[in-house]
């Protein structure tokens, strides 16, 4: 298997650049800047410094002893991205892209956000680098993630409510692309996932692959061997790709991505693009997309705003097609149980997004052997979800 994407940004039949002509030169500029930054030692040095001193890397790879015992004895390690500054893995990418924006002389930053974690991470780096910042967020998400909206505003960002379509992440991204088409000369668009047109899926993956690189070293140090499984939730798929990618060539390491089934895979209210979608083009790249029979994009549903997206990064579609990774899904209800399970067994309140991965562990515990080692990416912490979850759990 080759390391992808190819020169045109394709992962097999997926990926590419499907954007208005106005944006094509900006994508080319971004790619050129990214490639030159990768050869620039001072860039790498500054990013490493920020990742360690500002964001708090490396994050621990924590052996979740209680959870492991509860589930039946296989070993679960949690990659603690929840401990990062701003509370999720998103900062790994926004720091990198903010440095790129500075190199390109762009003084204005825009981003889309679903759960608000990427919005907060973007607003944070904009504050750090003194950049103007506009965040697009669906009206429905603004309601269910009000804490993060306040954080973004506190950090000096302007939060623009998006009222079109499903009023969630998909529409926020569409609106951000419209802004970018309009202000492309002065503005850098920090896409928060491994989605969008090339080079975004590649560069977001690369910035996030610090997760997998660290985890690989850490597991070798503590277990003296590679893990049997990698597990992560997949919305757009950046935390999953960040964990998976550095293990790509380790053929024996199995990868499992967990999508949001929403109310159920066959309920029509789901966000499981890889399991229920068809190949299509959304937001600049070809990938698996939830769509109706006429190619209209469907409204996704998940309790986790960060997974509530009808598309998925093209590299995941590729991993699925070539069977390098396996994808499964858990429902809103199961994710809530996962949310409780980790809180109760380990004293760690996960975000609802990685709670899906926790839920899968519990749901599929029989497939793992007693001596299996599993690394689960705990992509974010649950503070942002407490107000949403508390009435749901109180009902029980």
């Amino acid at each position: 298997m080759k390391i992808l994407p190819d020169k045109k940004g394709h992962f097999g039949i997926f990926g590419g650049k499907f954007v208005p002509e106005t944006l094509m030169p900006a994508l080319k500029e971004l790619e050129a800047e990214y490639r030159s930054s990768q050869k620039d030692k001072s860039f790498r040095k500054e990013l490493d410094y920020l990742l360690s001193q500002y964001a708090g890397r490396p994050t621990p790879l924590y052996f979740a002893k209680n959870l492991s015992k509860y589930l039946g004895g296989f070993k679960v390690y949690l990659k603690r991205e929840d401990l990062l500054h701003t509370g999720a893995h998103k900062i790994n990418n926004t720091l990198g892209q903010a440095l790129l924006a500075r190199r390109m002389g762009k003084k204005r930053i825009i981003a889309e956000t679903g759960a608000g974690q990427h919005g907060v991470a973007t607003a944070t780096v904009a504050a750090l680098f003194g950049l103007e910042c506009v965040i697009y967020m669906g009206e429905e998400d603004i309601e269910r993630q009000s804490l993060n909206v306040f954080r973004m505003k506190l950090l000096g960002a302007k939060v623009v409510p998006v009222k079109s379509g499903s009023k969630t992440l998909k529409d926020a991204m569409t609106e951000a692309l419209r802004d970018w088409v309009t202000n492309v000369g002065t503005t850098h668009y920090i896409i928060g996932s491994v989605a969008g047109p090339h080079p975004y899926p590649m560069l977001v993956r690369d910035f996030q692959s610090v997760i997998g690189k660290e985890a690989r070293k850490q597991i070798l140090a503590s277990e003296n061997r590679l893990p049997d499984y990698l597990l992560a939730c997949v919305g757009g798929g950046s935390n999953a790709m960040g964990l998976f990618y550095p293990f790509f060539k380790d053929k024996k390491v199995k990868m499992i991505g967990i999508e949001a089934a929403g109310l159920g895979l066959n309920s029509g209210k789901t966000a499981a693009s890889l399991l229920k979608g068809k190949i299509g083009v959304l937001h600049g790249s070809k990938s698996k997309v939830l769509q109706d029979k006429y190619g209209q994009i469907e409204i996704a549903h998940s309790i986790a705003a960060g997974l509530d997206y009808p598309g998925v990064g093209p590299e995941h579609s590729y991993y699925q097609m070539v069977k390098r990774a396996e994808y499964a899904a858990v429902t809103d209800k199961e994710a809530l149980a996962g949310f409780e399970l980790l809180s109760e067994t380990e004293g760690i309140i996960p975000a609802l997004e990685p709670a899906h991965a926790i839920a899968y562990l519990s749901k599929a515990k029989n497939r793992f052997k007693k001596n299996s080692i599993i690394i689960l990416c705990l992509s974010g912490r649950g503070d942002k979800d407490v107000t949403l979850v508390s009435p749901l759990l109180a009902k029980k």
Binding site: T22, P25, S164, L177, V181, N183, G185, I297
Partner: protein, 262 residues
């Protein structure tokens, strides 16, 4: 010969410029779209872009977004656009194009799309989110049937890319007048005249300008250099103002007639 090329030859011989009207199919309903095209054709519109609604029209401003969402509620889809084109083709001989995003086309199947576009009497296809880098498959399918895939140039396109795009261009080039989304603007973009003059010298196919043109004065100014212009949001806005009125077609037609230079 494709009707688009024939039209430009005809216009050239008459020293006239192409007036291209965009209408979202099914806004407010398909039969109104049909009546509008026929009436506008009678009043002198040279070509029509039949807008295929899409759930995520990322190159469109609020006016066309709203029209698209409205048309989707009317359950407009490619099959309905094709049957509308077929009905129109039986009545008028002017170039008919579709304007719509790539996913519905890709989902329909490129070969099937091209075949049905041909049998519906369509002459050109405009896809705002399909770059030169990704358009080979669709271009190939369409060319089998003699249908043009219209190429875009933007204010941000650099010289070497202009040459590359121009080499592949068929029918006309759609020049996006501003960096931005569709919608009326008070002023024409800065530097647009230098840009169009440059394109006129370096590109062989006709240049038509779209995005932000809404008045007769703007149309005349732009087409003093370009070979034509596309008017979209201004017409859609006029439709919006008249939704629910029995004389919508008359009112919108009168408005468009006011933009067409005599």
């Amino acid at each position: 010969m494709n009707r688009i090329s024939r039209k430009f030859l005809e216009l050239k011989s008459k020293r006239r410029k192409a007036f291209i009207a965009y209408l979202t199919v099914g806004y407010p309903d398909i039969s109104t779209t049909e009546k509008l095209v026929l009436e506008l054709s009678r009043l002198g519109v040279d070509m029509f872009e039949l807008g295929v609604p899409f759930s995520d029209p990322l190159a469109d401003g609020p006016i066309i977004q709203e029209a698209s969402a409205f048309a989707l509620k009317n359950k407009v889809n490619l099959d309905k656009v094709f049957s509308l084109a077929k009905r129109l083709r039986n009545k008028i001989d002017k170039p008919l194009l579709t304007m719509g995003y790539y996913n519905p086309i890709f989902n329909y199947g490129l070969e099937r799309f091209a075949k049905n576009a041909k049998s519906s009497g369509l002459d050109g296809i405009v896809v705002p989110d399909l770059s030169l880098e990704e358009d080979k498959d669709l271009r190939k399918s369409l060319s089998k049937y003699g249908i043009y895939l219209i190429s875009f140039l933007a204010p941000t396109t650099d010289v070497s890319r202009i040459k590359h795009i121009a080499r592949n261009a068929k029918g006309f080039i759609y020049y996006v007048s501003v960096t931005g989304v569709t919608g009326a603007r008070n002023k024409l973009a800065k530097g647009i005249f230098n840009r169009i003059s440059y394109l006129k010298k370096s590109v062989k196919v006709p240049i038509c300008v779209g995005f932000g043109i809404s008045t007769r004065k703007q149309f005349k100014t732009i087409t003093s250099l370009s070979d034509g212009a596309i008017i979209g949001s201004a017409i859609i806005n006029k439709i919006k103002e008249n939704i629910g009125r029995k004389d919508l077609v008359n009112r919108v037609s009168r408005f468009v007639k006011g933009i067409i230079p005599s």
